[in-house]
């Protein structure tokens, strides 16, 4: 008895606990059942899309936007205005998000098909996106101005009391 208990300990360490193992086996079986159907036609392209989506996101898209954010934060930090980061990050991220999602329409690459199928103009998306971007950055600039004005006022009001 004691011997088997001692043996079980490292086994459990290398295997992990049984419940997740069973759950994962069940999950892989279902994923496999759907997967053979998903891969039935053109398995290589589909696998490329499936795995590629994760890799492109994790190793390209995310490092790009995180890197851009770090550059902005550092640059503003050098200028001594690190607290302005948010006022750049928010409009830039929202604008980038809209571009990412609606890229086929904004870039115009789907414009001909869109116009032909729906009788709607496929040309307005770029200008609308630019206008939204202008409003986002403009709104952010106004918010920054208001904030600076408020900060100036409060420091003026406070300064005689504090010092």
């Amino acid at each position: 008895m004691r011997r088997s208990a001692m043996r079980r300990l490292p086994l459990r360490r290398y295997m992990g606990s049984p419940f997740p193992l069973l759950l994962l086996a069940c999950s892989f079986a279902l994923a496999g059942y759907a997967g053979v159907r998903l891969f039935a036609d053109d398995w290589f392209s589909v696998a490329l899309w499936f795995v590629g989506a994760a890799l492109v996101h994790d190793l390209v898209l995310l490092p790009l936007y995180a890197g851009a954010d770090r550059v902005v934060t550092r640059a503003l930090g050098v200028l001594g205005r690190r607290e302005w980061t948010v006022f750049v990050r928010v409009p830039a991220a929202f604008s980038g998000l809209l571009l990412l999602i609606w890229f086929p329409l904004i870039s115009g690459q789907a414009a001909d098909r869109y116009r032909s199928a729906t009788a709607l103009s496929g040309d307005g998306f770029l200008s609308r996106w630019l206008l939204i971007t202008a409003v986002l950055f403009g709104g952010s600039a106004v918010a920054l101005l208001l904030r600076s004005a408020r900060l100036r006022r409060t420091t003026k009001e406070r300064s005689p009391v504090v010092h």
Binding site: M15, L30, I106, A110, A117
Partner: protein, 426 residues
């Protein structure tokens, strides 16, 4: 906001101290926002949201009545994955408009949450040792299915609503089977992680997690601010997308979404068009009064009717929307035409026991140039072969000379430019 305004400046990282260069080192990850609480909030939002997406997706699949006829069936090898299929109802008439509008709009709105969630757990991609046990190795493979599956589903969906068919194959099988692969990993992840997520939400302190940076950069954002940022992105997408499910001024608010903005035309036929006559190769010569005849077939009987003869049959009105799988829809349009069950009666069926029908269009290409309707759809008094809309004859783009309109059916089953209807049990 009780951040002290006069706290001493945090020493700039980088001059004396070097940040670790490799993402496998915990010190590489600098954001003070990462931590179990932030990840758990996003995770719980996705748990609810993706469950709704999955259910509305399965509902949409059922709405096509795929088991009824091979022409409706884009996934003939579905096997047990169609276990839940049911007879798609005709009530309420806005059912598909609601479920599919929710599916697509919610999917778009959840994108910022998904991106934030993936950002919040990225350090774990580089965790060392890469594998601790068999269960850990399998869980990491499962996470590849989870992340790859989520991005695959969102990407194919977002591309499809923009008519940008870049993905390798037909949208229906890719999105449907992909959803099942994703969902298998999603349920597993939820079962393994939700208990910890709920614990994290109850206890706000989370310093002892691998997600928390050991050397955080000074904050530019509070955690609440970060959540507001993510929510703001979702809100922006909601207000620039949701309008595509309504007519008139509300549609104008869908600034970047397909089928948002102004209507394609004015007057009775000025509402949204899925596929124009020109794009489907429908010419006015084949729809002219001289050329066009509707062929109605039943067991042992065939009837051919011109549009003028159809107009002499009893005409009825129905106020019904058009709702597309792409998530856009119109408000109710006022249709006028012949009841489908009256057409079935012309080839020998009792009006109160109508059969299924196979509808064929003049169009020569396209996945849905033929579509099958079930007996409950044929028998609904609002299900019409429409000849008029909003008081005027159909326009070519809305299916002149005659089109199907069925309450609660997905748009593509409302066949335009109808040429032949074959009644009988399918």
């Amino acid at each position: 906001m009780s951040r002290k305004p006069c706290s001493p400046p945090v020493p700039a990282y980088g001059r004396n101290m070097r940040a670790p260069l490799l993402p496998t080192s915990p010190g590489f990850w600098r954001s003070p926002l990462r931590g179990p609480w932030f990840t758990s909030v996003l995770g719980v939002v996705l748990l609810g949201g993706i469950t709704v997406l999955f259910v509305t997706g399965l509902v949409s699949y059922a709405a096509y009545n795929p088991g009824l006829s091979p022409v409706n069936e884009k996934t003939p090898d579905k096997g047990l994955l169609g276990f839940y299929l049911f007879v798609w109802p005709t009530d309420p008439p806005w059912l598909y408009r609601l479920t599919q509008g929710v599916h697509v709009t919610l999917g778009i709105v959840l994108i910022p949450v998904l991106l934030a969630k993936l950002w919040s757990v990225l350090p774990r991609l580089f965790t060392l040792p890469p594998v601790r046990s068999l269960a850990h190795a399998l869980e990491r493979i499962s996470l590849l299915l989870l992340v790859g599956g989520a991005l695959f589903e969102f990407t194919t969906g977002v591309l499809n609503v923009q008519l940008e068919y870049l993905f390798p194959g037909s949208f229906y099988p890719l999105h449907f089977y992909g959803a099942w692969v994703f969902f298998a990993a999603f349920v597993t992840h939820a079962v393994l992680r939700v208990p910890a997520a709920l614990r994290n939400l109850r206890h706000l302190r989370d310093e002892d997690s691998d997600l928390v940076s050991p050397a955080p950069a000074p904050p530019t954002f509070s955690r609440r601010g970060a959540l507001g940022f993510v929510g703001g992105g979702s809100l922006l997408l909601l207000v620039t997308t949701a309008g595509r499910s309504f007519d008139g001024p509300l549609r104008q608010t869908a600034l970047l979404a397909p089928h948002g903005g102004p209507e394609p035309g004015s007057g009775p036929g000025g509402f949204q068009i899925n596929k124009t006559a020109a794009s489907r190769g429908i010419s006015t010569t084949e729809t002219s009064d001289e050329a066009w005849r509707l062929v109605i077939e039943g067991p042992g009987r065939t009837v051919r009717l011109s549009r003028a003869e159809l107009l002499r049959l009893p005409l009825h009105n129905a106020a019904l929307p058009i709702a597309c799988v792409e998530g856009w829809s119109t408000s109710d349009q006022s249709w006028r035409g012949v009841r489908l069950r009256d057409l079935a009666a012309l080839v020998g069926y009792e009006s109160d026991a109508p059969p299924d029908v196979l509808v064929e269009s003049l169009q020569r290409h396209g996945a849905f140039r033929r579509a099958a309707l079930r007996d409950n759809q044929v028998g609904d008094p609002r299900a019409l072969l429409a000849l008029f809309v909003n008081g005027a004859p159909l326009t070519p783009d809305h299916g002149y000379p005659a089109r199907i309109i069925v309450p609660a059916a997905p748009g593509v089953l409302n066949t335009k430019w109808v040429a032949r209807m074959t009644f009988g049990d399918l």
